[in-house]
């Protein structure tokens, strides 16, 4: 489904991605761990061509993303959902308009079908009552849910999540993580999740990679990672493990 080959990206000589390569299979949930500033979000943005990598290849559904013309790229983007860190809801539009926006622009649907999809995704994120609210009237957790609803409304085959639980309290984080996995099972999507949150990863991940200094330093299941002997990996997960009395939840 997704193939990243030897991806390099730097900003003003500062290397952020230094030869990243990995694959994600269809319907698999891959979690990307790493400290802040290690280029996890940059990786997602390169996959969507919001940023151009310096070198390397990105293949999604067999298409070479970096070589696509704008028209082909936009066609591919319609099959990919992206949940931004801050949800990125359009401030000037109500929740309903936010959800309708990608449908009206990209799909030839009548109003009845659009309404059905809007209601379906709002029910899925348990926020049907917020349909006519403005983003400024929503809490952080609600914004994330609406952002998630907007990402899945086009029924994407691939979902990219940029820190889906950052800035949320532990209970809301868990709710969002559970919601992500439920939707994943329901819609049979492939997911790549960038996060620091071990609990979120534990709920979501089939497989995980850890990035440090622009390179993948470990790859495997969450259990493989938390029992790793590598000093960096041990250090990375130690705080989370202490919080949970020495074992992951």
């Amino acid at each position: 489904m997704v193939e990243i080959i030897d991806l390099h990206k730097s900003f003003d000589g500062n290397i952020v991605l230094d030869g990243i390569s990995f694959n994600v299979d269809e319907a698999e949930n891959m979690v990307v761990f790493g400290r802040s500033g290690t280029g996890k979000s940059v990786l997602l943005k390169c996959m969507m061509r919001l940023m151009e990598p310096d070198s390397g290849d990105i293949k999604i559904q067999g298409k070479d993303v970096l070589k696509l013309e704008l028209k082909e790229l936009n066609a591919l983007r319609k099959n990919i959902g992206f949940l931004f860190q801050g949800a990125a809801l359009y401030d000037s539009m109500s929740v309903r308009e936010n959800l309708e926006f990608p449908l009206i622009r990209n799909f030839n649907l009548d109003q009845k079908e659009i309404d059905e999809r809007v209601h379906f995704v709002l029910e899925a994120v348990s926020l049907l009552e917020a349909i006519d609210k403005m983003p400024s009237e929503l809490s952080g957790g609600m914004r994330k849910r609406i952002g998630l609803a907007r990402s899945i409304i086009t029924k994407p085959q691939l979902m990219l999540y940029d820190e889906p639980t950052t800035g949320l309290d532990p209970i809301t984080s868990k709710e969002i993580s559970v919601l992500i996995i439920e939707l994943q099972h329901q819609l049979k999507m492939t997911s790549i999740v960038v996060t620091h949150d071990l609990l979120c990863a534990k709920i979501i991940a089939d497989r995980a990679i850890v990035i440090d200094d622009g390179k993948i330093v470990e790859e495997g299941s969450i259990n493989d990672l938390v029992t790793s002997k590598d000093p960096f990996i041990k250090n990375f997960f130690s705080d989370e493990i202490i919080e949970n009395n020495g074992s992951i939840i």
Partner: protein
């Protein structure tokens, strides 16, 4: 040694300022080229253009109206004693009319419009950029340049001439009030003198150049907002520099367009 250090710093500061200036000019040029490429391509966002025209027009209408009224009043009050000195009081309505229609109405209106609208667009698009709303639009397969930029530049280009005609009319009313204070003149006679003095060659270039000014206001506001960096601090900078750059460009282009209009419609009787 100190002098060397100071001149070195001054040189590097000047170099940086010049680099930024030319970068901005290059950016504005490529932004306007992209606008002309995209403006003719479907889908045509007619609803968005209509919405922006109404929104921007209504937002600016009161302030340009008040300013126009005061400018008309003050110009007539200033010109009256000067013309009296030369025994030419009868030319007051005509002189005021020509000044307002040819220069003051369009330029004052454009400068107020730049202050109100360019900063607003810069801040709005800037905050959309830093909160990743523009990226969200792009990943959903929508062209944000066409949806956000083309519609706004189109709206500012066509709403400013309408506002200018309104300002000219309000300024003439302001000037009439000043004229009535010093001379016993009816509205009909005043208007007749203004219409007699103001020719086609005065009105057309006056209003036409506001299409260019409107384009500048939209272009600079959108460019500054769309290319915002460095979070909320960048939004503030985008908004402020949008006003400064668009006002400066309006005055520079005014110089060029006045020369051009005098060449096309020479003021000779």
């Amino acid at each position: 040694m100190n002098n060397l250090l100071t001149s070195g710093k001054l040189f590097s500061k000047t170099e940086k300022t010049l680099t930024n200036f030319f970068e901005m000019l290059g950016g504005l040029t490529s932004f306007s080229v992209r606008f002309f490429k995209e403006v003719f391509l479907p889908p045509y966002e007619v609803e968005q253009i209509r919405k922006h025209m109404i929104e921007l027009g209504m937002k600016t209408l009161p302030i340009v109206g008040v300013t126009g009224f005061i400018i008309g009043l003050v110009i007539a009050m200033q010109l009256s004693p000067v013309l009296k000195r030369f025994g030419a009081e009868a030319f007051l309505p005509g002189s005021v009319g020509i000044s307002i229609v040819r220069e003051l109405g369009p330029v004052i209106c454009a400068l107020i419009f730049a202050g109100r609208v360019s900063s607003g667009i810069g801040a709005e698009l800037g905050s959309m950029r830093v909160t990743e709303q523009i990226d969200a639009m792009e990943v959903s397969g929508v062209n944000p340049f066409r949806y956000l930029v083309v519609t706004r530049i189109f709206a500012t280009t066509f709403i400013l001439p309408i506002l200018t005609v309104y300002v000219i009319f309000i300024s003439l009313i302001g000037a009439y009030i000043a004229v009535v204070l010093v001379q016993n003149m009816t509205w009909a006679y005043y208007l007749d003198r203004v219409i007699f003095a103001v020719e086609f060659g005065d009105a057309i270039p006056g209003v036409s150049k506001t299409f260019v000014f409107g384009f500048i206001v939209g272009l600079v506001g959108c460019y500054k907002g769309y290319t915002t960096e460095n979070g909320t601090e960048g939004v503030g900078k985008a908004s402020t520099s949008a006003v400064v750059v668009s006002s400066l460009l309006i005055l520079i282009f005014d110089m060029v367009l006045v020369k051009l209009s005098l060449w096309i419609w020479p003021v000779v009787k």
